[in-house]
Point group: C2
Chain length 290, copies 2
DNA sequence: GTTCCGCATGAATCGATAG
DNA sequence: ACTATCGATTCATGCGGAA
């Protein structure tokens, strides 16, 4: 196993990003705090102020991303007074004005979305995965996500429509081998831009905003062995954990000590630079000579 | 079987909509020509001019829709020079300024999307279904679209967990037994806002922009027997056909004679008013006294 | 060792009540 | 009138203990 660096930084993304080198990261994938959510930890950004809050951060992201890299943003707008708020739409438009290209919008379909019943809407079971780039040319390793083994294949098999699921259930009685053979027969199919993945809820040791399969899919798709991955809102460390497992270098920034501790404790062999994390020698930049 | 009216109108939506009464329609569901497509019918609207083209139409739609009605817009932005164009986002923002409320965005996941392979993107297998309303109160018949529930319900009913009991105890006034009775015999759950529907291919003579299951779902959700449904871009008649089958009155407008003919021939017992379709007596409004 | 089943929990939203 | 808090609603998932 090759050695990779897994930098975990405790601090505010707006400050810590400034220490990173220009064009030094191959993939940015993150799930920033949504408007008004996680108010007790991240301060609860107001919907109307969301774009204004995010633009200085995305400006730094634009600087540190390599021209061949991609930026994947997991976000969803909040419902305010019965209406979907437009701050995510406004953000997309603002990011384009900042210099980003809005390449694609993937859909993350969460089957186990938050329950509830309301008179005017159903459960919201999807989120946006916005892909931005610096130019029209970027690295994409499509073959890496059609590997028929591993979590992705299992997820694809497990998460089908209700109709398919019923068929699957009825198939279970007649033997599991039938399912496997069906998958193997289709091993040349590329995926589409709708990802079916369940959230990992609190029954695990740590609660993460997205399941490991999600960053894994994009890491495989947009990076190769030894590349650098950045998550400026690391949370409990999902992105860094997956990056290390896939043999990619990574930098994770987390503002909240509690989450930072969870990330640090759950990631084996992480090479942390406490002098950077402590902010004592702010001039030093990473990643260099790790 | 009750008699319903199925008006099919040959003409330009911008003109024909003016003949409809104020607040006379319960549901508008349509799939307008996307930018740059159907160039020979509506002149191939350029992406940059799309909002400007659509607003006069949506203004009429706002007028003819009942306060309790919904407007469901099936639309998808085009990829221009490697980027997703923002005209759909711009349209949402513009429609809000016009007075519409952006209530919800449903995702239509097309399981059998058009195959293809590109160096920088996967198959686009989803489309937006934007729901707009005139106010926060509107008709919604959620029970009409319930789906089979997972088998968890059976086990859940056997024994209620401690948490369930605690949650039940916190309910104001309602007795414990009353709550349990709500679940007994129930095998239907409410759906979420991601719709999994395959496109209809092959076996039909005409190509429809959406499968019958799609308007059917929204017609069941937002209208009741005898309500009025409008599709200003009818195409080959899918919306009108489904509306008639579900015993709803409907008005369909189509500009292209070829599609109009297909719709007319494929819909049995349709009560057309040729003098309106021909535009000779433009003053007459429908639906009245049908 | 398997399979089965109980069980807690979650980027939520609405409407009523209170300040 | 306007904002803040709170209770009610609801279902897929995966862990862990039991069969």
């Amino acid at each position: 196993m090759r050695k990779v660096a897994t930098e975990l930084i405790l601090g505010d993304a707006r400050e810590q990003l400034q220490k990173l080198d220009d064009a030094s990261v191959d993939l940015i994938i993150t799930s920033p705090p949504y408007a008004d959510s996680r108010a007790n930890t991240y301060g609860g950004i107001k919907p109307d102020a969301y774009v204004e809050w995010f633009l200085p951060i995305s400006k730094e992201l634009l600087r540190v991303l390599k021209p061949s890299g991609s930026f994947v943003l997991n976000i969803k707008e909040k419902v305010v007074r019965g209406e979907r708020h437009t701050y995510v739409l406004d953000l997309i438009i603002a990011l384009r004005q900042q210099g980003w290209l809005w390449t694609e919008e993937y859909i993350w379909h969460k089957k186990n979305s938050f329950p509830g019943k309301w008179p005017n809407r159903f459960r919201d079971s999807w989120e946006r995965l916005l892909q931005f780039n610096k130019g029209k040319e970027f690295n994409m390793y499509q073959d890496a996500v059609r590997v028929p083994m591993g979590d992705w294949a299992k997820t694809r098999l497990k998460n089908l429509s209700e109709t398919d699921k019923r068929r699957d259930n009825s198939r279970v009685g007649s033997g599991f081998g039938k399912n496997v053979s069906k998958w193997i027969g289709r091993d040349l199919a590329y995926p589409d831009n709708v990802l079916h993945m369940a959230t990992e809820t609190g029954n695990k040791n740590h609660s993460a905003v997205f399941p490991e399969a999600l960053p894994e899919w994009f890491i495989r798709l947009f990076t190769k062995d030894g590349d650098w991955i950045l998550d400026p809102f690391l949370g409990s460390g999902t992105t860094s954990r997956v990056a290390q497992r896939l043999n990619r270098n990574s930098i994770g920034i987390e503002i909240l000590e509690e989450y930072y501790a969870i990330a640090k404790n759950s990631i084996p062999q992480s090479y942390e630079k406490s002098h950077i994390a402590g902010g004592k020698e702010g001039k030093e930049k990473i990643p260099v000579n790790v």
